[in-house]
Subunit: 390 residues, 3 copies
């Protein structure tokens, strides 16, 4: 028994199989096949490995962003001088990745809960009290109708009074100075699978550089300080226009890192896009209402602002690639597989389309007789032939 | 020398190898193998290609979201009529992707820094001053104890006074009208690898449609305007319940785009989920405290609100697939590999389990004698045989 | 005709090809090859399958987060006692995934729009009015110069007056008590491809446990309630330092789920990282300005706060893996491909480096004569040989 196993093992280890092949000496087929095979080889090496970097694995970045605006704006609304600083024009304050920079506004000071006529903006007209059912709301209205129709123009409503009149949007925008505000972006990403952490304050971007630099797609592509006017123009808007009615802009920070190279080569690329457009072209227009509440003479009041501005959203898209044995061998392996396909194709040509195909068949294939016809004799023949071959 | 190279080259290019094969004429094995091979073929074509679309590469979307609420609510709290608009009940104002719609609240007007008795909610009882150590905090308390125990009920504390009494949550919810508020969602995604940008305002959703439409899973699955009541019911909550104590709802926008088809077929799918539940069932209850600060008679005061509401989080999950040569050939290649496995399996059957296995062995394998026994003679034999074969 | 097809079919189904092989009985080559092949086998099974789990597909999680702070702080700023609760020190209120906990601040009460001298912080000095051009802004300034230079120190500006003096940051931090605040995190993730939903309130974390537990990396790694002081120290900062000037901390929630195992094993891992540092070490320092607006004696005023604090960002990174037939078979397939490579290598050795290579060539290859030399005779010879083999 032991011997048997031993034998089997030695057999297994001392010999190996290699397929017997026919060397077809046919220039046409030969050249065709070689070219085919070389093609496959070229594809595997050139395309999969060099171009598509098939030997690397990918990882997507986890990212976190912090922003800070700088700048002052001065307004003179019929004689009332006023200065606006960051705390006034940025919503929200904390420097999150998506925020609004106010560039224009409609302010209604000192609203309080009261009864007042609806805004005569054409959609809320009435002629008799019958048009203003008590307790009802108009879809286009700002409050709850009391049932009165005031001088046959609009219904009286319970609401924050006076109702804000937003029919006319100031033009030029009140905070046109926003064009010169600057935005500072801090972005740190990490690739958990590779244990790599990077910040957009890369090697060259040190504190001295930050003091003076201003982003420029060509001259200063790594400076994380952006002029609002530049952001707008780079994203394809006209500032004067977007500053009046507002708009949404995405700042894309793209990281494409090949970690097989020096980490210092892993740097961000900044892109600017208008958002929320149908397919290609982006739509202008962004606004929201916010209220500041206070109490005056024991009455709660609020200052309602309709804010038009830049809704800036910072979107980070980070991807790193690194050599890994698995994809490498998978690529090689399936490459070899495709090699097999090449051979198959050649064989088809050889065995079905060449004039001397039958001859090649006899060479390539050795067929056993069909089983069912008197097996004995068969084995005889075969046995003979077998010996012959030894 | 040159000649040698030439020869080698011509040899290489004018001939090609193709494996010699045995044609086993055995119905059993034959059928078995063919079926096996056809199975592999079917798998590769049917499953990998047609079903799993193995010929495509994926890309995940970068997304940005903007939201806008519409609607008015009226409250009459013991005679004090009041109207609530967007600026009052949405937190935060700017229309970000996760926000809160207030549906119920407990308001404490005019708190100021002062000394007052702790809330008698059972957790802060005291009988003597000894129970209220000066300068200490009770884990369940709202302020810093002064050391006094007031009429043997609760400790006196330094805090925003009067302390907010949130023992009773208004029922029915004060802003039950929120059920009819509408939410408008703008979502734009981009697939950086494919350079494709899409908005949820797809072809059919034009400005006219937006004026009138309201989301309905069956009739209007693409309308980006949602009734709050619908959102709640679609996510499996009862509005009356969630409106009172609050709750968290996720609006999933799912993009599954096959970019080999018309881009117009790349449309979003909206789903609604209750959040933060253990495993399956979602838990009700969401609230936070927010304060509005003002100054009255030179004293800073605040109106503290405990806000109950819908915490809505809009989560975008976009994925696009597109034909690519690499995965295609990788699939083919490894498919061919599996083909090899099929053959191997057949061989095993043939060579180890068939009655006439030895006979097949002699056909499939031609063995060289073991090296070490008198090599000369060997080569002789072989040489003879070799000539024989030529 | 029918017969022909029948025949072809029966041929196709009743026979199958298997390559003819040479059994090379050469210990050296044999062992070398076997080891090579075993190596490949070991790699495929051991590495691809067991270690890298090559038989699974991945899916990335969609996540949503909700946070809640708890704690009270007491300040005594030259006699003015004051108590701070959540509504006072958390920005924003609603419990989103990135927020700020105020630990220190500089408060300027009762600013109003007015004219006042610029801050004498060395950057805004002037000697004559000529240094303060009317209508100009200094990059380092806080307002719009009126043209006056006040007692030859700083320019007069139009601004929110008095200008906030942030030259000295309070030390020790005013809200040092923040160290004992607690943060509660709710996180629910879902894997759309697998239809799995999980919450960080996993099986063991029930309401009773939540009442008492406090996160500890060793003892309570699943408790979602964190002491602020712990978060800071675990992320490598000193609290006293970061509390004074502020800083940014990322709380990573990592989900690595193998869905082939019990779902209960799919649990989160919490990690803490300082953010925004160059490469490795994180930089301290975070602050922003926020204003509370109110009206006093018909004049709009504001309380400007420069807030120093912990900017906490909760980042979720979820990944699930599950068995899938495609990657499994792809791995096997390309594995077989690599097997082919092994054989090729052996053949190269056999046919080019062994002393008896020519002999092995004659065994492995059977070559057809080159076509163009008198084809007839060729076929003759071949025919003979062919018969010989039958």
């Amino acid at each position: 028994m032991r011997n048997l196993i031993k034998e089997a093992l030695s057999d297994f280890f001392f010999e190996y199989e290699t397929p017997r092949q026919v060397l077809v000496r046919n220039p046409k087929v030969g050249i065709a096949c070689r070219i085919l095979q070389l093609g496959v080889l070229a594809y595997i090496i050139g395309w999969v490995f060099i171009y598509e970097k098939g030997y690397q694995i990918k990882d997507t970045a986890i990212s976190s962003v912090f922003t800070k605006m700088k700048g002052i704006a001065y307004t003179d609304i019929n004689g009332a001088e006023r200065l606006w600083d960051v705390a006034d024009y940025v919503f929200p304050d904390q420097g999150v990745s998506s925020f609004v920079v106010m560039t224009n506004f409609i302010m209604t000071v000192g609203q309080s809960q009261d009864k007042c006529p609806e805004l005569p903006d054409g959609t809320n007209n009435c002629t008799t009290d019958a048009d203003c059912k008590k307790g009802q709301y108009k879809r286009t209205g700002n409050g709850r109708m009391t049932g009165k129709c005031i001088n046959q123009t609009t219904c009286e409503i319970l609401s924050w009074c006076p109702v804000q009149d937003d029919r006319v949007i100031p033009n030029p925008p009140l905070l046109a100075a926003a064009e010169n505000f600057t935005l500072f972006i801090k972005n740190s990403i990490s690739f958990p699978d590779f244990g790599v952490v990077r910040s957009n304050l890369v090697e060259k971007v040190d504190s001295n550089y930050l003091k003076t630099c201003l982003f420029d797609p060509v001259k200063h592509p790594l400076c994380p300080i952006f002029r609002l006017g530049d952001i707008v123009s780079l994203s394809g808007f006209r500032f004067s226009e977007i500053a009046q009615v507002g708009g949404s802009i995405g700042i894309l920070i793209e990281w494409e890192c090949n970690l097989d190279l020096r980490i210092a080569k892993c740097i961000p690329k900044y892109r600017f896009e208008g958002l929320y457009g149908n397919s290609s072209q982006a739509s202008v227009g962004y606004n929201f209402r916010t209220a500041k509440y206070y109490t005056e003479d024991r009455i709660q009041k609020r200052t309602l602002m309709k804010v038009f501005g830049l809704y800036i959203e910072i979107i980070v898209h980070g991807q790193a690639r690194k050599f890994d044995i698995i994809p490498t061998l998978t690529a090689i392996g399936s490459g070899v597989g495709i090699f097999g396909v090449a051979t198959v194709v050649c064989d088809v040509v050889l065995l079905y389309f060449l004039p001397k195909k039958d001859f090649y068949k006899t060479l390539k294939f050795k067929s056993t007789p069909v089983e069912d016809e008197e097996p004995e004799s068969v084995t005889m023949d075969q046995a003979k032939e077998a010996t012959q071959e030894k």
